[in-house]
Symmetry: C2
Subunit: 307 residues, 2 copies
């Protein structure tokens, strides 16, 4: 397949314009208004203080607690622990892990918005929970998710959307998600070659596929930085190519989010553009294209059976 | 001398009440109004958007640039470089380094406020510039300055005030100073023994003299967190026992501050309460008690002659 967004192939970073629409659907196609679609088109994100029911949220919080306490989870391939400690940092493929989290990822309200933004049926490319502990929570450096999903997973086009759901309050102080609004219009091709099994280290600390200082400076000068904050249950949709990251968290307040990536069924992955074998299915789905709203209940896959 | 604030002597952390006034002077003694003094009494800090002249600020910014470019400065004992790189993190004793910085530290407006808050003549216990670079600027973990100044420098009482002057914009995103307002009323005695020459490592990453997780959680539950932000030149006075810290900075915008600590002339240091030799004079003055407003112009001391 043609590589429309080459990255990690040149010794020079480059900023080019986006080649795909940002909004693929229309106001009549779903719950979002014309004004909301225009905001997303311009800024690359859209936040909602309250979209989910209180009972749904409480079930998710209980599940979160359960996962954090389970020592077995930390040894699963789907789990990522903090460098230098056994603190859980992420758990992947949460839509296959429990009924509560499956229902969250297949939630009709979330799926309807994703379908409208992408103008087609959608499936779950990736799902996960991120824990950023209090006191010693580490930063996530700036990146465009699409850059990795394109280069390492072979997703051809920018027709994906991420949905972040606050499972703790996101305050200005506990290392909230920071976005460069409008940056979805630019593609920063990164310097450096993808190492074998890059995901094993990149999920702990990303070193390849991050923008160089000069490109990031240009983006922030052009677009600025915003950090949507909100209570438990607040939801932010953001475009797959939006530059984002977060600072460390020394406050006592942990910052945890569920994170679901919807991809258009018309944008299924091909062979990774970096020429390496694809990442495991629990990080980047490439076989199960069940429409997200129809993702079936159990049996949940056991740890280790990532595909 | 009696140790009224023991710390690093017990295996158990402890939170006790402050034994000293927060405000030592009165409304009639200086530029601060009754309301400003009450705010400081309650919250332990006081911020001003604009206190210094534009020409004074510009001279300081030029000096800052000069210091950052000077490779010789990085090798001075007064300089602290980032762990793992040669990036300058702090330079101490700036009131002895150049005429511009001396004038800043002896600035009549700053000194008048310090004198009023401390109810006496004041001298400069410490002065420094902190650089937090963009992209990879590291966090400063929570601490009460007084805990260190008492244990390692022998300052007997809480009758000191710090003054932080923004030399770059302090935004919500570039790792601004976070304060626990009201925490000046509590003293958290820390666990752990002071190692020899602790300052050599503690200025890069403080590990002794930091609050334990449970104590910090209690303080934040009681008082919350604020992060005063502002343009270049904004000034924050904060009480020596106020719990504070800052997150990392992944934005392209550096965060630099000048930092001056005024101590009451009636609160001169005695032998350090940890029983070790005192830290160098360029970190904690113990010989030159010239009133801050009268601190004389040059000759500036050369690098290495810290006393």
């Amino acid at each position: 397949a043609e590589d429309r967004y080459p990255s990690r192939v040149s010794a020079q970073a480059q900023i080019t314009d986006r080649k795909d629409p940002v909004v693929w659907g229309r106001a009549g196609d779903g719950p979002l208004s014309e004004a909301e679609l225009r905001f997303y088109e311009d800024h690359g994100y859209l936040s909602f203080e309250q979209l989910l029911g209180q009972d749904e949220l409480e079930a998710c919080l209980a599940e979160l607690d359960f996962l954090r306490r389970d020592e077995g989870v930390k040894d699963a391939p789907e789990a990522v622990v903090e460098p230098g400690s056994r603190e859980l940092r992420s758990v992947f493929a949460i839509h296959r892990r429990s009924e509560v989290l499956r229902r969250l990822c297949a939630h009709p309200k979330l799926v309807a918005i994703a379908r409208q933004l992408l103008g087609s049926e959608v499936y779950i490319h990736q799902s996960r929970i991120n824990y950023k502990g209090g006191f010693r929570g580490k930063e996530f450096y700036w990146h465009s998710d699409f850059e990795t999903w394109h280069v390492e997973d072979g997703v051809p086009s920018m027709r994906m959307v991420s949905c972040s759901i606050g499972l703790t309050p996101n305050t200005p102080h506990n290392g909230p998600l920071m976005l460069v609004p409008g940056s979805q219009q630019r593609y920063v091709s990164c310097v450096g070659e993808t190492p074998d099994d890059n995901y094993r280290s990149s999920l702990k600390r990303q070193e390849v596929g991050v923008p160089d200082d000069a490109s990031l400076t240009r983006l922030v000068e052009e677009f600025g930085i915003v950090a949507p904050v909100g209570p438990v249950g607040s939801v932010t949709f953001f475009e797959c190519n939006l530059m984002h990251g977060s600072n460390s968290n020394i406050t006592p307040l942990p910052r945890s989010n569920a994170f679901i990536v919807y991809n258009s069924l018309e944008n299924r992955p091909v062979d990774p553009f970096c020429g390496l074998p694809p990442r495991p299915d629990f990080i980047a789905e490439r076989r199960d294209f069940t429409p997200a709203g129809e993702f079936p209940p159990g049996p949940m896959r056991a740890c280790g059976e990532g595909s």
